[in-house]
């Protein structure tokens, strides 16, 4: 019960009021449900107008709050009551009835205090409505209207003071509410429109998160989504001109500086990160890092820990963190020791099968784009990828080989991997008798120590006899003359089995395809005993005679 009226005077007043209004209550009991509702609406209107008429009827507020609290039983009445209350409070706030004046009498002060308490009750009622699907959006609008009214008048000062208690209540209610639409509504109608609200929202979220010791997964997700929705980063301080609440007069006010805005946002995000994210959440965060999160950061260095942590995790998270880390290295002078070693370690079994393959290759192309890298290092990368290509899908091989070509062009020393003529006769004889042991050390972690540059790319030569004709043709470029300047990687990225089959299927059959000239005698059945014919592997390994 919000109207835990402690003050005696108020209580007595309330009692009187109630006795006065006893009639409608009785009536309600008698009447049918439909009429009752109509009557209630009329009742609420009456109560509201009474309040407006004189101070005597202030106790009607308590009745209205009571109605408003009954949202579960009678949502219509509740929202009507809330609306009425809002109007009442806005009027009262404007008239300054809630401000405790210095020269006011004891009674006035009591009334003001009582009204303030009722206002708090009303807040609670409103915020509680956020939980219901039907009322949430309307309640939000009411709450925000109230917020706007409270700011200039509640404290009775010249300048508007932001009503933190109400706003915090709204934020926490929003974040805990199961209703997704309210949050969307809030973002669309308020956060996106008004710069100050966004400013306060970030702060509110930060407080909300820091106050709680443990936040459960669901709430984390909600907060994350909510933060993601606040994506319109203002360009400069001049852009900050849409204010929900009266614009602060001071030029230096934090609300008018972009960096302050960004700072709040940054703090809110960091507060979220500090909660410790799950793997899935990390992936999500890293996915949108560049587009939605990084722009809010004044000091991206603060992301350093998060990113390096992610990068060190390994697997796909490393892949995703890669671009962030690279940005920090490039722009913010982040010192990431043994970056290339780490990068080299990313080239593991799954990289060519990963769905982030093309993303990774774009980055890898950047990282190894410099012609000042040691050839030994580049050779390690080439050899490693060549090894991986032996188990790679065609769509990956198609990227790797042209990329190798570009690297060979850039680092001519590495071309020894394709063409190595034994120099001395002894060497030749040795090769003749013992063959070649691949000097490449696949398990070596340091790309400078793998001896890849002394190895040869047998793997790619093997792929020249790949089953897919196009892959085979592409693999052949390394044994042809290097006349082309470079291959544009974008032409080769983003293929898949589906797209390859599509490409084949798009070619229409115009010319009759070649047909096997011998009709096989046996496909599923065994060859007759006694003949010289051998069974196909399928017939010999599969039992077609039973099921």
């Amino acid at each position: 019960m919000p109207s835990t009226v402690k003050d005696k005077t108020v209580k007595s007043v309330a009692k009187r009021k109630r006795s006065e209004n006893g009639e409608p209550i009785k009536k309600r009991k008698k009447l049918e449900a439909g009429e009752e509702k109509e009557d209630l609406a009329a009742q609420i209107q009456k109560l509201e107008s009474q309040i407006n008429e004189s101070k005597k009827h202030y106790n009607n507020i308590a009745t209205l709050i009571e109605y408003a609290e009954k949202q579960d039983e009678d949502p219509k009445t509740a929202i009507a009551a809330a609306e009425a209350l809002c109007r009442v409070f806005v009027r009262l706030l404007a008239s300054g009835s809630l401000v405790k004046k210095k020269d006011a009498s004891e009674k006035d002060a009591t009334v003001a205090k009582w009204l303030r308490d009722r206002l708090t009750d009303h807040h609670k009622a409103l915020v509680a409505m956020f939980k219901s699907t039907k009322l949430a959006t309307r309640a939000l609008v009411l709450a925000m209207a109230l917020l706007k009214a409270e700011a200039p008048y509640l404290e009775g000062k010249d300048e508007a003071v932001f009503p933190w208690p109400l706003f915090n209540a709204i934020i926490s209610a929003l974040l805990t509410s199961p209703v997704e639409e309210v949050r969307d509504e809030f973002c669309d109608k308020f956060i996106d429109e008004y710069d100050d609200l966004r400013f306060y929202a970030f702060e509110g979220i930060k407080d909300f998160l820091t106050e709680r010791q443990s936040v459960d997964q669901e709430l984390q997700n909600t907060v994350f989504d909510f933060l993601l929705k606040m994506e319109h980063v203002p360009e400069s301080s001049e852009d900050l001109e849409d204010f929900y609440i009266e614009q602060p007069s001071k030029k230096k006010h934090p609300l008018r500086s972009l960096s302050q805005h960004k700072k709040r946002a940054q703090e809110a995000w960091l507060a979220l990160f500090n909660l410790g994210l799950s793997k899935e959440q990390r992936k999500k965060v890293l996915d949108v890092m560049a587009s939605s999160i990084a722009p809010w950061f004044i000091k991206p260095e603060l992301l350093m820990d998060f990113l390096t942590d992610c990068y060190n995790t390994g697997g796909s998270i490393s892949l995703l963190a890669l671009s962030g880390v690279f940005y920090l290295i490039q722009e913010r002078n982040l010192d990431y020791p043994s970056f290339y070693q780490k990068l080299y370690s990313l080239l593991d079994t799954d990289i060519l099968h990963s769905k982030y393959r093309s993303r990774f290759f774009r980055l890898l192309d950047t990282f190894l784009g410099s012609s000042h890298l040691p050839a030994v290092l580049v050779a390690s990368f080439i050899k490693r990828l060549a090894r991986l290509a032996l188990n790679a899908p065609p769509s990956a091989i198609v990227v790797i080989v042209p990329w190798f070509y570009n690297l060979f062009k850039k680092h001519p020393l590495t071309t020894f991997m394709m063409h190595r003529v034994p120099r001395t006769k002894e060497e030749k004889d040795l090769i003749e008798t013992e063959g070649v042991l691949d000097p490449f050390l696949p398990d070596e972690q340091d790309p400078m120590e793998t001896h890849a540059i002394d190895s040869c790319l047998w793997e790619i030569v093997q792929l020249q006899s790949h089953y897919h004709p196009n892959v085979a043709t592409i693999a052949k470029i390394i044994s042809e003359q290097f006349t082309k300047q470079f291959y544009n990687l974008e032409d080769f990225l983003d293929h898949s089995y589906g797209s390859l089959i599509d490409a084949e299927m798009l070619k229409e059959v115009k010319k009759a395809p070649v047909i096997e000239f011998m009709i096989p005698k046996h496909i599923f059945t065994k060859a007759d005993a006694g003949t010289e014919q051998t069974d196909s592997p399928l017939v010999s390994l599969w039992d077609f005679g039973s099921s």
């Binding site: 040869c456 047998w458 093997q462 089995y497 599923f524 039992d543």
Partner: protein, 914 residues
């Protein structure tokens, strides 16, 4: 030559024979008669006059004053002028320029500041190039055209009634006299029709001669009548054309005549023939006497004989055939053909363009061997691929040769010999008899009844026995199913095992040779059949497989004969469906389909319209499917066998195959391997996939039932049996794969993980739970692979891929030109050269334009001056006239005054006197 200009002129005129001593009357007449000579002379005279004119004006030519720069030897006559070289005719040029200005600029000047006027729109009025006569002609022609409705001179139809029809004329006379036309024949007919063919030619010649004589006479007359009129060139040409047309028409008519005669003779021929043939039988009759011979009615015999004779006559003349070949020769030929096919296959495998037959041969000859590497490759492939392949196939053919009834032999050898676009003759051979009795030895009586297998006869027989069925209850005739629904409707009632018989009958019934629509029908049937194969595969029973196999072979044979495109389209449609609907959830039907594709098409080709997508579908499953159930694994195993079978000849590497096999082995292994065994992706198996306690299980083979989700949960022993089967099959496949790919350059890297996985499986903890037979197999395979690995390592050589010829550096050093011309530009930069050319042209044009403008201005000034002068002159004249007038009148007045004065004086004097 000395003397005055006039004297010299006279002398040169006399030299040229333009003027001469007066001719006698006789001489004059002679010259007049010799018409040709006269025209020649006239031309000559004209020329001579022109040259004389030139000679006498030394300023008419602009010449090179210093003479030619170099001495030149030419055939041309070297007179003074030519030697100097005429570079221009300033006088003439100036005159024409002036003339043109007068025509254009002057007119404009005169029109300036004047408004209005009449524009002369008459045709050719402004065209100075037309003579008056031409103008008049053209105007007349246009007027005529306008008045004529059809507007076309050559509209032959409908023009009869309105105006005179355009008829062929010659020398102004119509070619056909009106009388002739009325009689319905022309004079050629008249001349030729009643003559014998021998005389025909001479008669025509005569006629032509006459015609020519007439013409000449007419010409002579014309000339006599109006001797000065010379025919214009146009007229002459028209005459020539008309003449040639006339001759052509004559020839045509003569030919038609011949044709008619021949037809007539042909009509009579049967009579002649009967006469000829009647002779002999009559004799026979006479000699033999009685009316019956050997109890047969003679007449009938005769009739029969005649019939036979006619038949014999109608039959194509027997040609000398090749000697019947002996068995060995035939075998040899077969082997040769196979060798050819094999070569073609190898070329396709290397991805070279293979066209048809001869072309290809040439191509092959002219083909440049690429670099060393390629040549080496080829050698290698020849060494391993070709020899083995042929040997393998030879045995097959030899077997085929033994068995005449065999499906494989006849169909293959013949069909392959004639490729896809073979003649009809070939076709009847193939699928008439041979196909059919080859299909089904059981149904021999049917086909044997059809004698030498004319498919038509078979078909008629089938029709004759319509509706009835054989002892199996399979009807002899079917409607041709053209979609899968129809096929199910029509053949649904038959047991699947008997389906091939039905298919064979349908093929015979609707053989494309029997009806033109049959080709389309059978094409649709083929497509439906392929769909049905998938359908049967999905609902398979183990006993169906021989039948399905037979159907696939039917499809194959259909593809070879007529329906290559239809079959491939149908297969591709199935693949498309797989791609769209179930890329990672293949059914048994899909497996059967993929197998069928693998046998129907050469899977060794570098690129193939059907095989490439099929292979991609297989590897897509192998690469992307993360198997959850044993059925998934089983499908994968089937596909890996298939992938290997696809590549068994070309030995191409399939990464997905290795990935799948090793991942499956790791997943099924009793324990998870402690460390990474290779670079293949490992998926953690679903619960219950790892094998457990299977040491007592007997090793069996996998079957198609394993590829389907079991309806009721299988018992643990069944499951472990399946797992053991999967492991065992994969081990065998890996072994085969290692043998197939042992020559690949990275064989070591490829199969080392396999070795490690197998070792993991045979480790103590794993082996304890596996049946002993399987462990043995695993160990065998491991040793086998280890051996191959060792071999691979020893035979491995460092790569030497770039023994290319070094590329020449592009150079801009000036080329040496054999015939250098300083006026020419040898700019190697094409664009720059073009730019320079354009600039030069612009400069030239600009200069020309400026010069023209200057000349125009001078002309205008001149003209203005002329006008001014004329005005001034007129003024002066007027002024003078006026002055003179005034002076005259003044003079007159003063005279009058003087006279008056004198008169007065006189008067006074007299008066005074008086």
């Amino acid at each position: 030559m000395a003397g005055s200009q006039l004297k010299r002129l006279k002398a040169s005129l006399k030299d040229q024979g333009i003027i001469g001593p007066q001719k006698s009357k006789k001489q004059k007449r002679q010259t007049a008669q010799d018409a040709k000579a006269s025209t020649d002379k006239r031309l000559q005279r004209h020329e001579a006059l022109a040259s004389i004119r030139e000679q006498f004006n030394p300023f008419q030519f602009k010449t090179n004053a210093r003479g030619p720069k170099f001495e030149v030897t030419t055939n041309k006559p070297q007179n003074d002028k030519l030697a100097k070289g005429i570079q221009g005719r300033p006088g003439l040029a100036k005159a024409t320029a002036e003339q043109r200005r007068k025509e254009t600029l002057l007119v404009e000047m005169q029109r300036r500041n004047k408004v209005g006027g009449i524009v002369d729109r008459r045709f050719g009025e402004d065209d100075p190039n037309m003579t008056l006569e031409d103008k008049m002609m053209e105007r007349f022609a246009r007027e005529q055209m306008k008045s004529h409705k059809k507007n076309t001179v050559f509209d032959l139809e409908g023009s009869d009634d309105e105006s005179a029809p355009v008829t062929l004329t010659h020398a102004g006379k119509t070619l056909f006299d009106d009388d002739d036309i009325e009689a319905g024949r022309d004079d050629f007919d008249e001349n030729i029709s009643d003559m014998e063919s021998d005389d025909e030619r001479s008669a025509r010649k005569k006629f032509l001669k006459r015609l020519r004589a007439e013409e000449e006479a007419a010409e002579g007359e014309g000339e006599d009548g109006q001797p000065e009129r010379k025919k214009t060139k146009k007229e002459v040409m028209e005459e020539v054309i008309a003449k040639s047309k006339a001759f052509k028409y004559e020839r045509q008519a003569a030919k038609d005549e011949d044709e008619d005669l021949r037809v007539e003779l042909d009509k009579e021929l049967p009579q002649l023939q009967s006469l000829l043939f009647q002779m002999k039988p009559k004799e026979a009759k006479e000699s033999k006497g009685p009316a019956t011979v050997a109890g047969i009615d003679l007449e009938q015999l005769e009739k029969e004989y005649n019939m036979r004779l006619k038949q014999a006559a109608r039959e194509a003349r027997a040609e000398v055939t090749d000697r019947t070949k002996t068995e060995e020769e035939r075998a040899e030929e077969g082997v040769k053909r196979l060798k050819e096919m094999e070569e073609k296959r190898l070329r396709r495998m290397r991805g070279e363009v293979v066209s048809d037959d001869e072309e290809e041969e040439e191509q092959k000859k002219g083909k440049k061997k690429g670099d060393d590497q390629e040549a080496q490759d080829e050698a290698e492939e020849d060494e391993f691929g070709l020899g083995k392949g042929i040997k393998l196939r030879m045995t097959a053919t030899e077997m085929g040769l033994d068995d005449e009834d065999d499906f494989l032999l006849e169909d293959d050898l013949i069909a392959s010999g004639s490729e896809l676009d073979m003649d009809d003759d070939d076709m009847s051979d193939i699928d008439g008899s041979d196909d059919e009795d080859a299909y089904d030895p059981d149904e021999d009586e049917l086909v044997n009844g059809g004698e030498d297998g004319e498919s038509e006869e078979v078909a008629t027989k089938l029709h004759a026995q319509s509706k009835g069925g054989d002892e199996d209850g399979i009807p002899y005739t079917f409607p041709c199913p053209e979609s899968h629904e129809q096929l199910l409707e029509i053949l649904g009632g038959l047991p699947v095992v008997k389906l091939p018989v039905a298919v064979q009958r349908i093929r015979a019934l609707y053989h494309p040779k029997l009806n033109e629509k049959n080709k389309e029908r059978l094409g649709n049937f083929t497509q439906a059949l392929i769909e049905h194969i998938t359908y049967l595969g999905d609902k398979f029973e183990p006993t169906w497989f021989p039948a399905i196999e037979n159907l696939i072979r039917h499809v194959h044979s259909l593809a070879k004969t007529f329906f290559a495109i239809e079959v491939s389209k149908a297969y591709r449609a199935r693949l498309e469906e797989i791609k769209e609907e179930r890329p990672l959830a293949l059914t048994v039907g899909d497996l059967v389909l993929l197998t069928a594709i693998g046998t129907t098409y050469p899977t060794s080709d570098h690129f193939h319209q059907v095989v490439t997508p099929a292979m991609l579908s297989i590897t897509r499953y192998l690469g992307q499917k993360i198997p959850q159930t044993l059925a998934d694994y089983s499908i994968g195993v089937y596909l890996s066998i298939l992938a290997l079978q696809y590549q068994s000849f070309s030995k191409r590497y399939v990464p997905e195959f290795i990935n799948f096999c090793l991942n499956t082995l790791c997943s099924l292994a009793v324990e998870k391997p402690k460390e990474k065994l290779g670079l293949f992706p490992v998926h953690e198996p679903a619960a219950g996939i790892r094998i457990k306690g299977a040491s007592k299980v007997t090793v069996r083979k996998l079957n198609c039932g394993d590829c389907q989700q079991p309806k009721n949960a299988p018992s643990a022993s069944e499951e472990s049996a399946q797992k053991v089967a999967i492991i065992s099959t994969i081990t065998s496949v890996l072994k085969t794969a290692s043998e197939t790919w042992c020559k690949l350059p990275a064989f070591y890297e490829t199969f080392q993980p396999a070795q490690r996985v197998l070792q993991h499986l045979t480790s103590k903890s794993n082996a304890a739970q596996l049946p002993a037979a399987l462990v043995k197999q695993l160990k065998d395979t491991t040793t086998n692979i280890s051996r191959l690995l060792q071999l691979a390592q020893v035979s491995r050589r460092p790569l030497e891929l770039h023994h290319h010829k070094p590329l020449a550096i592009k150079t801009y050093v000036p080329k040496f030109e054999d015939s250098f011309d300083p006026n020419k530009h040898y700019d190697p930069d094409r664009e720059r050269a073009e730019m320079a050319k354009l600039r030069a042209e612009h400069k030239k044009e600009r200069k020309g334009a400026l010069r023209e403008l200057r000349k125009d201005a001078a002309f205008m000034q001149r003209e203005n001056l002329k006008v001014k002068k004329a005005n001034d002159e007129a003024y002066e004249k007027k002024y003078k006239r006026l002055v003179a007038e005034i002076q005259g009148s003044e003079g007159q007045a003063s005279n009058e005054y003087a006279r008056e004065k004198a008169a007065r004086l006189k008067k006074n004097k007299t008066g005074n006197k008086w």
